[in-house]
């Protein structure tokens, strides 16, 4: 395979040494080729150590107790919040820490379907999503529509895998109250035209939310200049631990939204018959928080900043280009949305005559981890006229030789199942 040689901007060899899981042997003692970072990323030692160090050195309840450990833990928690907020161009008070991005989206959606909320939707109002949303940014809005009588509408996608904006001036109208859409498709890799949609949304007074789960880990994202009301993302896709999600929103929106989960930590005053609530972000952080998790997330941010988001993006662009060129040469392989102008690293494809589960199984036998299935985007699968796809996604620790290993194994898929 002759392809453009590339001067690698990242020292991938040294990066790989920071990720202990990359040493783990797979079935048949094969080396791991991890090409499933869009599902969850692997974690460097510095993140694992930060989480352990929290428990070893400062573990205690944050925001309560007057003892020394509680002070240290609270300080680390808030310092971590500030660091993660800064990473996406937000202020610390704009960042609500949740347990995952799905909770963040549910927290947002809740505000539009709750009695006494100034944001409560009414029949005739419209919610706009897109046809390529992850279920996490679709199902909560279906629920809001069902509870309030608002109408759920969606921006369709073109055969090229981009948002079809031909009818956008009708889709975004005076009745539109919420527009919630993905920044980068977890299936196709499409990067959406945020500025254009946000500006139309603002012109009709709609709130705009961005599912940034796939973008924040892979490119520089600046909340301050995005012109949206909120973004959500998750720690575990950006080298951080499981169990930490983020909601970044304007102070105005956070003030307007009612609390979602209620109980300890989120109150101002409590009497037997009623309570008043703390200011955001604490208003949305009921119960004991995952302090070790956010501290480890801050370590992930340090790691990403050290490498540089622009370098990471350039590295992934190279790998994706190399992958797409390799797949294009392979008979019987169809890439979904191969010619996107603006794209991230997720690449979905089909092998003619072989079901994605079977594709994934043969790759797995060679130690190669990809994602097969509907990717929590069932409506998009229907649109693509498939039940499932196979998806490769890369990150800063992937090497070109791993793409080669993947392509070789994909040849084996075709020979194993006897497809020409």
């Amino acid at each position: 395979m002759t392809l453009i040689s590339h001067k690698i901007a990242l020292d991938v060899m040294s990066i790989r040494r920071d990720f202990p899981i990359l040493e783990v042997k797979m079935r048949n003692n094969k080396d791991l080729v991890y090409l499933d970072s869009a599902a969850t990323s692997q974690k460097p030692n510095s993140v694992l150590q930060a989480e352990a160090r929290f428990y070893e050195q400062v573990n205690s309840g944050v925001h309560r107790g007057a003892h020394y450990l509680a002070e240290l833990a609270t300080d680390q928690y808030e310092t971590a919040r500030a660091k993660v907020a800064n990473f996406v161009g937000a202020k610390p008070e704009q960042l609500v820490i949740t347990k995952n991005a799905t909770e963040s989206l549910n927290l947002l959606a809740y505000a539009f379907a709750t009695q006494n909320s100034s944001l409560l939707l009414k029949p005739g109002d419209e919610i706009l999503v897109t046809e390529m949303e992850h279920h996490a940014n679709l199902v909560p809005w279906q629920q809001v529509a069902e509870k309030t009588g608002a109408k759920l509408r969606w921006i369709p996608i073109t055969p090229a895998g981009e948002l079809d904006l031909s009818n956008i001036s009708e889709l975004i109208n005076k009745k539109t109250k919420v527009i919630s859409f993905t920044h980068m498709s977890n299936v196709l890799g499409t990067i959406t035209p945020v500025a254009q949609i946000a500006s139309l949304a603002k012109s009709v007074g709609a709130k705009v939310f961005l599912d940034a789960c796939q973008s924040v880990p892979h490119m520089s994202v600046d909340f301050a200049t995005l012109n949206v009301d909120a973004i959500v993302f998750s720690a575990h896709k950006m080298l951080g631990p499981l169990g930490v999600g983020m909601l970044v929103a304007t102070e105005e929106l956070l003030d307007e939204m009612p609390p979602f989960l209620t109980g300890g930590s989120m109150i101002e005053m409590v009497s037997m018959d009623k309570s008043t609530f703390a200011k955001a972000p604490k208003k949305f952080e009921a119960g004991t928080p995952n302090a070790a998790g956010i501290v480890a997330t801050a370590a992930a941010v340090d790691y990403l900043n050290k490498i540089g988001m622009n370098n990471i993006q350039a590295h992934e662009e190279h790998l994706t280009e190399y992958l797409l060129a390799g797949l294009a040469q392979m008979p019987g392989v169809q890439v979904f949305a191969p010619n996107l102008i603006e794209r991230g690293s997720p690449v979905s494809f089909a092998v003619a005559g072989v079901h994605p589960h079977d594709v994934g199984q043969v790759l797995d036998d060679d130690g190669i981890a990809i994602r097969v299935g509907h990717h929590c985007a069932w409506p998009l699968m229907k649109k693509l006229n498939v039940t499932a796809t196979s998806r490769v996604s890369t990150y800063l620790y992937n090497e070109q030789s791993e793409i080669d290993a993947f392509l070789t194994s994909l040849e084996r898929v075709r020979s194993f199942f006897g497809v020409k």
């Binding site: 079901h355 589960h357 199984q361 043969v362 036998d365 299935g373 699968m381 039940t387 194993f416 199942f417």
Partner: protein, 146 residues
């Protein structure tokens, strides 16, 4: 090689030449099953004799991976023409093997080519694929026998 133990030749043969595929008009009950992790689907019809004791036919339409397609084909071969009491024995034998993580050798007299799926039972993520058609059959036959 583990891959060959998963995809035994018998399984690949059933996958390439599915026995009994297609929905047929004679039936008393139908079951639609979906594997929510991958979106694979099957619609399966049960056609019982008038006394409701014998399975005259199982017909089905399905989309899915080689394992789910082949298991539907094996199901058809094993249960067409048997009594409901016999079906239950066959089902339980196959089900127990699939839940055994590959440790339980099944009775070939009962489940026929179904014994080839023992390798699948070692891959937890694929057990559902191998059971999809069988769950549909249990459901449809149960409803048809009412």
């Amino acid at each position: 090689m583990q891959l060959q133990s998963l995809y035994q030749e018998v399984i690949l043969d059933h996958y390439r030449n599915q026995r009994g595929k297609g929905l047929r008009g004679d039936y008393q009950a139908e079951s639609h099953q979906v594997n929510p992790t991958c979106g694979d689907e099957i619609t399966l019809r049960a056609h019982l004799a008038e006394d409701k004791k014998t399975i005259l036919d199982i017909s089905y339409e399905s989309t899915g991976c080689s394992i789910s397609q082949a298991s539907a084909s094996v199901l058809f071969e094993q249960v067409k023409g048997v009594s409901i009491a016999e079906f239950e024995k066959i089902f339980n034998e196959y089900h127990a093997m699939m839940q055994s993580q590959g440790k339980l050798e099944a009775n070939e007299d009962l489940i026929g080519d179904g014994v080839a799926f023992i390798g699948v039972a070692q891959y937890p993520a694929r057990v559902k694929c191998a059971l999809l058609a069988w769950m549909a059959a249990k459901d449809a036959i149960g409803k048809a026998a009412l």
